[in-house]
């Protein structure tokens, strides 16, 4: 990733749209189902047929209150719906029901960690609105500019949509990506949305400007659209920062405009600018009553909050995982749960964490499944960790055993026995083999006695061979040294 050149600073704010996974739409009873045939989940309300009236979905309001609570927002007791007026074919009413002044949530924050440096990103507001329909631009290449006509599917029109707006607190593409990832984790943990970027149930727009370090005035900003992965957001922002600095450094001016990210070329390009400036003529939606979210409602949501990703990571670190591993574990509720249970049952935290984020994840990837599909249990991990701690398995053998367990060959002891990987942990048995080996190599023993430690390696090798590799080499070495009086 590009680094911002010395003497410059970027100022970035992000707007995120999240589709809530309710059963029915925001203002009508049409089902929310994106696998449906086009225009099969539509009704007079979401098609804006004359006389149809919207009624708000209580579950969606509860969803936004949950998001706002998780983002440390003030939940406004009273909030209002507004009409945002504009004309576009995917918007049947010619206005979108949204919020303007008095959004449901304001003044929140997310803390993101980039390279061990925590940054607080303020959340300006979180408001409730409805999604638009989907447009399919038909013609050569599917590009909007070349299309000769457009097909419309209104199944998505009216799906509950939550918009989350940050303060311009973000300074680097890495922070932007970390913010997006953390927001996605939070939304998923809350269970209000699957927040899939590639499918559009979570969408990012980034506002970017640059300025000379040490100045406080904001530069002219551009807005980037069409980033559909965290990586593209990071790349698009990096490109745009570089582009703006280049423009300013060569005496040009940045034009306030919307720019489209092109994943293939790795560049942003200006979208056609509009003839008239944006004027959405917001006014209060007369068809909907004000929202009143009282203390009881707010408290109920607060009490039902699940453990949020940041809390989970902190707990995993407290249990003995390092920050990076805790982050990896926290991304999978299943792995985090296994770690938790195994460590609570006495397994060594670092060992278990390394298996889960290493062998287990790699195994799932190799066989083309998700970790959730694996039949690994916390009991397996506890047993395996105990076998390593007792010296019955070497670290390398433990990984082989783990692979066998993951492949469904049985529990750790059973797999270890079948694969003949159990170490001789009985020091008496090893001492006997060491004595035999030393008896066969008196010259080597003599050298060690006289202070030459070179033959130790050779002798350890002989003992390992005699035990079929099942002795703990460290223990063997100790016994040889002891026998030689060194």
């Amino acid at each position: 990733m590009s680094v911002i050149p010395e003497g410059w600073e970027a100022v970035i704010g992000i707007e995120t749209h999240v589709e809530l996974q309710t059963r029915s739409k925001m203002f009508c009873g049409c089902r929310v189902d994106f696998g449906d045939d086009p225009n099969t989940a539509v009704c007079p309300v979401c098609l804006a047929l004359p006389g149809a009236l919207p009624v708000a979905n209580e579950a969606a309001i509860d969803g936004i209150v949950r998001i706002g609570t998780a983002l440390d927002c003030t939940i406004n007791e009273r909030s209002l719906f507004y009409r945002k007026n504009y004309f576009y074919p995917d918007l049947p009413k010619n206005y979108q029901i949204s919020q303007y002044t008095y959004p449901v949530c304001e003044h929140g924050r997310i803390v993101v960690d980039v390279d061990g440096e925590p940054t607080v990103i303020g959340i300006t507001r979180v408001h409730m609105e409805e999604d638009t329909g989907k447009s399919l631009h038909m013609g050569e290449g599917g590009r909007i500019q070349d299309a000769d006509h457009t097909l419309l599917d209104f199944n998505r029109a009216g799906v509950p949509l939550v918009e989350i707006v940050t303060e311009p607190d973000i300074r680097t593409p890495d922070q932007a990506r970390a913010y997006g990832a953390e927001l996605q984790r939070i939304v998923r943990t809350l269970g209000v949305s699957d927040a899939r970027l590639e499918e559009g149930s979570m969408r990012f727009d980034a506002n970017i400007s640059v300025r000379r370090t040490g100045t406080s005035e904001l530069g002219t900003r551009t807005e980037i659209k069409n980033v559909n992965s965290l990586r593209s957001m990071q790349r698009a922002i990096a490109f745009e920062i570089e582009r703006q600095i280049e423009v300013l450094a060569t005496g040009g001016t940045v034009i306030q405009e919307t720019r489209h990210w092109n994943e293939t070329t790795g560049r942003t390009t200006a979208m056609r600018s509009k003839e008239e400036s944006e004027d959405y003529r917001y006014f209060q939606e007369p068809d909907l009553l004000p929202l009143f979210i009282d203390e009881q409602w707010r408290d109920r949501v607060k009490a039902s909050m699940p453990e949020l990703p940041a809390q989970l990571r902190a707990r995993l670190v407290a249990a003995g995982a390092d920050e990076r591993t805790a982050g990896l574990l926290a991304d999978s509720p299943l792995l985090a749960g296994l770690f938790d249970a195994a460590v609570r049952a006495g397994a060594e935290a670092k060992t278990v964490a390394s298996w889960l984020t290493g062998e287990v994840v790699a195994y799932a990837r190799r066989v083309g499944t998700t970790v959730d599909e694996l039949s690994l249990t916390a009991e397996h991990l506890v047993e395996l960790a105990a076998m390593v701690a007792e010296g019955e398995l070497s670290a390398t053998a433990a990984k082989q055993v783990l692979a066998g367990v993951l492949a469904g060959e049985g529990g750790p002891r059973q797999v270890a026995e079948t694969m003949d990987l159990l170490q001789i942990s009985d020091s008496g048995a090893i001492e006997a083999v060491v004595a035999d080996v030393l008896g066969e190599h008196p010259d080597a023993l003599e050298k060690i006695r006289s202070g030459d430690s070179k033959p130790i390696g050779f002798l350890v090798g002989q003992v390992m061979r005699a035990t079929g590799g099942k002795a703990d080499p460290k223990m063997v070495q100790e016994i040889i040294r002891r026998s030689a009086g060194r």
Partner: protein, 106 residues
């Protein structure tokens, strides 16, 4: 910034009727622009008179009914039949509404 619940951002007294018409995608002749401009001016004047009233002791309202939270449970209701829906449209193909080329985004 302290905001009063229900307070409305100030309205412009002057109104650019041609701009309003363009935003609403309504084509007006010069005569109509003049006529509607005058009519809207009367409405704005009225609103101004109302705004001049002393309302410091009046709790602002955002809706004529003293109600909040008219909700619907999150239940799926039947949608319309697609053929019926598309039959109302000027143009449709393969289950989609079809519209002419779109030049510009929102």
């Amino acid at each position: 910034m302290a905001r009063r619940w229900g307070s409305i951002p100030p309205m412009p007294v002057e109104i650019d009727i041609a701009k309003v018409a363009a935003l609403a995608r309504i084509a007006l002749s010069d005569e109509e622009l003049a006529a509607y401009g005058a009519q809207l001016g009367v409405i704005l004047e009225h609103a101004e008179r109302v705004q001049a009233l002393p309302t410091d002791d009046v709790e602002p309202t955002s809706h004529p009914l003293p109600l909040v939270n008219a909700f619907r449970p999150d239940e799926v209701r039947p949608s319309l039949d697609r053929d019926d829906v598309l039959a109302q449209a000027p143009d449709a193909v393969d289950g989609y509404f079809r519209v002419p080329q779109i030049l510009d985004g929102p």
